[in-house]
């Protein structure tokens, strides 16, 4: 049983560029959440997707957008990259109920130069 997978593992971009990160949830999970984790800090909630819709959003600008596909996989898109967007981006999957356990992928390390 594959766990949560993310791609790519590492990415280097320059300011102003756009980036797309991908996530495949754990088998049996239909909900995907995205987090941004700056170095030395706890993860910050970006948004959650359920039934191909954004169900809840954290305090992130509109430059951050996402998508969920019919097979429950998800993408995170970030436009007009800033230096401050450099972070580990984590995807977590769950069954979608409010108190259900989330399982995290290994993350994508994004560096913006």
């Amino acid at each position: 049983d594959a766990g949560v997978t993310q791609s790519p593992t590492h990415l280097i971009k320059t300011r102003g560029q756009q980036v797309t990160l991908r996530c495949s949830p754990k088998s049996g999970h239909d909900t995907v959440s995205w987090y941004q984790q700056a170095l030395g800090q706890g993860p910050q909630f970006i948004f959650q997707y359920y039934e191909e819709e954004e169900r809840q959003r954290g305090n992130f600008p509109d430059r951050f957008s996402g998508h969920q596909f019919p097979n429950y996989s998800s993408e995170l898109n970030v436009n007009a990259l800033l230096l401050g967007d450099s972070a580990l981006y984590l995807c977590a999957s769950s069954t979608g109920q409010p108190r259900e356990t989330q399982y995290f992928g290994p993350g994508t390390r994004l560096l913006v130069l």
Partner: protein, 112 residues
């Protein structure tokens, strides 16, 4: 804004010592999770607590959820170098949100 504050932020101890990490909030949470994260990897779930006053044990780790579901603690007995990592608590607010709030993290280093 709901916050989860962890203490201490950093902890460096000798192998065999005991330690406790605290996770506190002024908000009530419907459930709380503890994770351990290694550098460059995603957090790995250790335990989920959902009932006020609940105590769960995982080998040398003991987790407790406060009676009012506003705080939690993680106690490690006889720490080992393999316990080294970033410990994170995360909570789901009792108001029915789907958003997980993460604590600030406790970075533990256990010296052999």
């Amino acid at each position: 804004t709901q916050l989860l504050e962890q203490s201490p932020q950093f902890l460096s101890i000798q192998e065999g010592e005991n330690l406790t990490v605290y996770c506190n909030s002024s908000s009530v949470f419907s459930s709380l999770q503890w994770y351990r994260q290694e550098p460059g990897e995603g957090p790995v779930l250790l335990v989920t607590v959902v009932t006020g006053g609940e105590v769960k044990k995982l080998k040398r780790l003991t987790f407790q959820f406060g009676d009012a579901r506003k705080d939690s603690s993680l106690h490690i007995t006889a720490a080992q170098p393999g316990d080294t990592g970033l410990y994170l608590c995360a909570g789901v607010a009792a108001s029915g949100t789907y958003k997980y709030i993460f604590g600030t993290g406790t970075r533990l280093k256990v010296l052999a």
